[in-house]
């Protein structure tokens, strides 16, 4: 796997690498993909009809309001201000 592909995949995954990290990752991923390429040896295809039998659709709950967490609890694990999540400005 080359550095360009690493950077493309990193972008998809919202990750960034230094040039040294990207080089190491390319070496690691090359070895990993060689193993994954083993699946190409076998000539089979996915049969959608074989799956999703007896899928249990859970009962919907009764449509009534119930108490959830307090605002304080909800933001307790985040950078917050007065009950709001604080984020960088998105729109100028």
């Amino acid at each position: 796997m080359d550095i360009n592909t690493i950077n493309y995949l990193a972008n998809l995954g919202k990750l960034s690498f230094t040039p040294e990290e990207a080089e190491q990752m390319a070496a690691d991923m090359t070895g990993i993909i060689q193993i994954m390429d083993g699946v190409k040896e076998i000539d089979i295809s996915y049969d959608y009809l074989k799956d999703n039998h007896n899928v249990y659709l859970p009962d919907l709950r009764i449509d009534t309001r119930y108490d959830s967490f307090t605002r304080e609890k909800i933001v307790s694990n985040a950078v917050n201000d007065n009950g709001y999540f604080v984020v960088p400005k998105v729109v100028e």
């Binding site: 796997m1 592909t5 690493i6 995949l9 990193a10 998809l12 995954g13 919202k14 990750l15 960034s16 690498f17 990752m25 690691d28 991923m29 070895g31 990993i32 993909i33 060689q34 193993i35 994954m36 390429d37 083993g38 699946v39 190409k40 040896e41 076998i42 089979i44 295809s45 996915y46 049969d47 074989k50 799956d51 249990y56 859970p58 009962d59 709950r61 967490f69 609890k73 909800i74 307790s76 694990n77 985040a78 950078v79 999540f85 984020v87 960088p88 400005k89 998105v90």
Partner: protein, 468 residues
């Protein structure tokens, strides 16, 4: 070293109090865990409060099987108001506002939660060495890995720091550390135990399960945590049963399959131990059936493609906005998210995200993810065919015994290939248990018993018949 059964008897007969039991394990943790490094969080104060509450339940005569029993919980299972890190910097400061269903069920029995155990980061690994916090050691040999990703849970039981623990298993993460540490670990049928509150890795493969000193104790813990949960859309309504009920049942007439491909590439000591176990079963009246699983050679690739694809999706929620680590660098929203994820995740997690996105990306989807899904169906069919001729399947849990801490960890390919014996049970959604069947020197060798869906009682019973 006490089993749950022994503790239950002593507690019910008032030979020992819950607080006294707890103090024994807290003392063991203080003395041994600085070397073993199995716990990320020890909840000493709340454990003492809960021990006193449990004692009142016992005194009232209303104790349940796990009342007053100390238990450790893997750190990817949510415990309300207790740090839950997944051994990752990304969740290094995360305190859940709710309990996982399994946590709630343990609390309903007044089990005493003693702490949260270390793991491979986000359950991705087989050595417990990718943990951002505690790189757990194997209590049998502190220079060796305990296995992973439930290495902390396995090491805590093996080191006599708790009598039982909960782990999670996506590709072998309960069974392999159980094998390496010389304890018993069980992965239930997919859908048997609720995943609500389990931090998701690969949602179609993840299952929570128990680790303990023997199969019977695993059955006791499974009794407490199994069952339908409407908060988990994949939870099954198949009736639960007493998973210890078949222990002690004769193996006479039981058909035990040995798939030859699981033995290729395994160390000689491992092969010999499993074959000796098969002979032991035969002497107890079981019938050994030789079978094949031709698709096994594709299993590791299929597993890593499916699990990484799901992980890439599941881990996209970590952006530092609503919870978890947030980078201090980033002028724009996009930069903040990228920096947060790049600083918060470890190398192995990043590899899996890249692999998952690669497998799902345009031009590669059919060749990799599509093919892996087809292999999932093929592996299930091959298991179905084997179960036409047999009742359970016996295999090694891992091709080797526990390796040294500095081996393999820098070679991801070698690490992945070592999962060959465990991943197919996850792919097929089957119940599987690992228990010790022999030793190489002083290093335990685990045998896996794989069963038909929902037949946890049977595999616990068969594993219980392995005397080691």
């Amino acid at each position: 070293m006490y089993t749950i059964t022994q503790l239950r008897e002593k507690l019910n007969k008032r030979e020992i109090s819950v607080v006294e039991v707890l103090e024994i394990y807290l003392k063991n943790i203080k003395e041994k865990d600085p070397q073993i490094q199995s716990f990320i969080t020890v909840t000493e104060d709340t454990a003492r409060e809960n021990a006193e509450a449990a004692q009142k339940i016992i005194d009232s005569g209303e104790s349940k099987p796990l009342t007053g029993i100390p238990i450790a919980i893997k750190d990817n299972i949510c415990t309300k108001d207790i740090l839950t890190t997944c051994s990752s910097k990304m969740l290094g400061n995360f305190v859940p506002t709710y309990d996982a269903t399994v946590t709630k069920l343990l609390k309903e029995q007044n089990a005493v939660i003693i702490g949260k155990t270390s793991m491979d980061e986000f359950a991705m690994g087989g050595s417990n060495q990718t943990s951002a916090f505690k790189k757990t050691k194997n209590p049998r040999d502190l220079e060796r890995v305990p296995g992973g990703s439930s290495g902390g849970s396995a090491a805590a039981v093996a080191g006599d720091l708790v009598p039982c623990s909960l782990g999670s298993d996506t590709g072998g993460s309960i069974r392999q550390p159980a094998s390496f540490c010389g304890v018993t670990g069980l992965k239930p049928t997919y859908g048997r135990v609720s995943r609500f509150g389990l931090v998701a890795f690969a949602s179609s493969l993840d299952q929570i399960g128990p680790l303990a000193n023997n199969p019977y104790d695993c059955g006791l813990v499974l009794n407490a945590i199994a069952g339908f949960d409407r908060h988990d859309g994949t939870s099954s309504k198949t009736p639960i049963t007493d998973y210890t009920a078949e222990c002690g049942k004769s193996l006479r007439g039981l058909k035990i399959a040995l798939p030859q491909e699981f033995f290729d590439g395994a160390d000689k000591a491992v092969v010999d131990a499993i074959l000796a176990t098969a002979e032991n079963f035969k002497s107890q009246g079981a019938e050994i059936v030789n079978v094949t699983m031709p698709s096994l050679k594709y299993a590791v690739a299929a597993y890593y493609l499916i699990s990484s694809a799901e992980a890439a999706s599941n881990l996209s929620r970590y952006d530092g906005i609503k919870y978890g680590y947030r980078s201090e660098n980033g002028e724009t929203y996009g930069e903040l998210v990228k920096n947060t994820r790049s600083e918060g995740f470890g190398v192995e997690v990043k590899r899996r995200i890249l692999l998952g996105n690669y497998a799902l990306s345009s031009g590669y989807y059919d060749a990799y993810y599509g093919k892996a899904c087809a292999l999932k169906q093929k592996i299930r069919e091959e298991y179905y065919d084997i179960f036409q001729k047999s009742d359970v399947i016996l295999t090694p849990t891992a091709p080797t015994v526990a390796y040294k801490c500095n081996e393999n960890i820098s070679d991801p390919v070698k690490m992945y290939l070592a999962d060959i014996c465990t991943v197919t049970a996850n792919i097929a959604g089957l119940p599987a248990i690992s228990t010790t069947c022999g030793y190489q020197g002083n290093l335990p060798i685990g045998a896996s018993v794989v069963g038909k869906p929902w037949e946890e009682s049977r595999i616990i019973s068969v594993a219980n018949g392995i005397n080691c």
